[in-house]
């Protein structure tokens, strides 16, 4: 007998999505099992609230179910889209913005790293953590303020007491390091 989830990892995201379009709950369930941990962890890191993070997680997958036909490979990476959509929704909630979810979720996301299998997710977790751990404090802080707290560069400059140019340089340097490691 195969371990649970093993079959799911052999099927690509877009193949599962094609089945979701046909209202196959099993396919949605497989996608949920694949990405729910990442989506929930990201939303919780931003909101620091389990209930609110769970709400975002459930709403995102419900949106996928309801509007599955709008998702296709032209959107790029489904996993990447989920990460970006979860982040946008969590930041909106955090900053009490009232943007429409549809507008927030129109984003296309291209990822050159595989995050469809559990093994590749674990590998990426290790790599990203290693990079973040190795960044100079100022760079790490700037990137985290932007991504996890939804702060603009000028807000980060005000918070850290650094000139705007320095903040931009720090963010650029941090992201360059991340891209190099991931490539």
């Amino acid at each position: 007998m195969r371990p649970e989830g093993a079959t799911n990892e052999l099927v690509s995201d877009w193949s599962l999505m094609a089945r979701v379009v046909q209202k196959d709950e099993g396919a949605l369930s497989a996608l949920y099992d694949r990405y729910s941990g990442l989506v929930f962890s990201e939303a919780k890191r931003i909101l620091r609230d389990t209930g609110a993070a769970e709400e975002i997680l459930q709403d995102l997958f419900y949106q996928i179910w309801r509007t599955a036909e709008r998702f296709d490979e032209s959107r790029g990476s489904l996993g990447g889209w989920l990460m970006v959509a979860a982040r946008n929704r969590a930041i909106s909630k955090l900053r009490r913005k009232t943007g429409k979810a549809e507008e927030l979720d129109e984003n296309t996301v291209s990822m050159h790293v595989d995050i469809e299998s559990r093994a590749s997710q674990n590998l990426l977790l290790d790599k990203v953590r290693a990079v973040m751990g190795s960044l100079p404090e100022g760079q790490r802080e700037a990137v985290e303020c932007a991504y996890f707290e939804g702060m603009s560069h000028s807000e980060i400059a005000a918070k850290t007491g650094q000139p705007l140019g320095t903040v931009k340089t720090r963010i650029r340097s941090a992201m360059e390091t991340l891209k190099q490691v991931l490539s």
Binding site: S29, E54, S77, T108, S110, V128, G150, H153
Partner: protein, 277 residues
């Protein structure tokens, strides 16, 4: 913000990371919508930014989230089935040939489904109602248990504080005695100036409703300090009352007076108990 026609790479990165002010981001997104090259680059940058999600501490959501999601989907599907628009006349013609009893195959299937689905839905509804009721009861029980727990914790802290004060070597014990009409009344005070805690007890007759007993600490210098009002229990139960006093106040004596309900800032009524420190 654009270099000629296209968005600068630095801005693309900041835009993908969500680090641009709203108005700036809106302008750039509008440009990206109409520029395939910038849209593609932005999608790449979003992909890089999305990997930052992996820096979050990984946690597993509660299993109930998935259960609720699937229940939401089931409910929606049932609703869709229920409100499905009836077939048009020309669509009816395409229904497979009728069975011998005169009903079409779909009709027969529908009837069969109705016989099965209606009881199932009823059972489901009853089960949901029971679960909702049970959930509400459990929540109430949980709230009461939490309340009781806080009470127990408060009582434990009070007991620990009393034991600490009574066993502290610098706690002073003073017996208070009545005189005249209250000659039979007695009381005691245990006072720790360093901790600013006074524990006292008294055996006193009940008072009319508009009167209370008020405990006083008489310092070596200055006016008496109120240590609270109290009323003996209906059966003369002996209780231990606690009061906080400004730290390191040296006491000369302790006294109990009868005052109007609610107490007074300085003693005005008859003294029923007195003890010198």
């Amino acid at each position: 913000m654009t270099n000629g026609e296209h968005i600068r790479e630095e801005d693309l990165l900041l835009l993908a990371l969500g680090a641009l002010p709203d108005d700036e981001a809106t302008n750039l997104l509008a440009h990206a919508k109409s520029c395939a090259e910038c849209a593609a680059k932005l999608a790449e940058e979003r992909g890089h930014a999305a990997t930052l999600a992996f820096a979050a501490k990984q946690e597993i959501p509660a299993a109930t989230v998935k259960v609720e999601l699937l229940a939401r989907i089931h409910a929606e599907r049932e609703k869709e089935e229920h409100y499905k628009w009836p077939l048009k006349k020309d669509e009816v013609r395409q229904i497979p040939s009728p069975k011998k009893d005169g009903t079409s195959m779909n009709e027969g299937k529908l009837n069969w489904l109705q016989w099965v689905l209606i009881p199932v839905a009823a059972v489901f509804l009853i089960a949901t109602a029971l679960m909702w009721k049970s959930n509400r009861e459990l929540k109430a029980e949980l709230a009461k248990a939490n309340h009781d727990l806080i009470d127990i914790q408060n009582q434990r802290q009070r007991t620990e504080m009393i034991v600490d004060v009574l066993s502290a070597p610098d706690t002073v014990s003073v017996r208070m005695a009545g005189s005249g009409e209250s000659a039979k009344s007695i009381g005691s005070a245990n006072y720790n100036a360093r901790r600013g805690v006074l524990l006292y007890t008294a055996v006193l007759p009940p008072l009319p409703q508009d009167k209370v007993y008020q405990m006083w600490l008489v310092p070596t210098t200055g006016s008496p300090i109120s240590a609270g009002v109290f009323s003996p229990g209906p059966h003369g139960n002996r209780e231990l009352w606690t009061a906080t006093i400004p730290l390191n106040t040296q006491a000369k004596a302790f006294a109990v007076t009868i005052e109007p309900a609610g107490g007074v800032p300085q003693p005005t009524g008859p003294k029923v108990l007195l003890g010198a420190s």
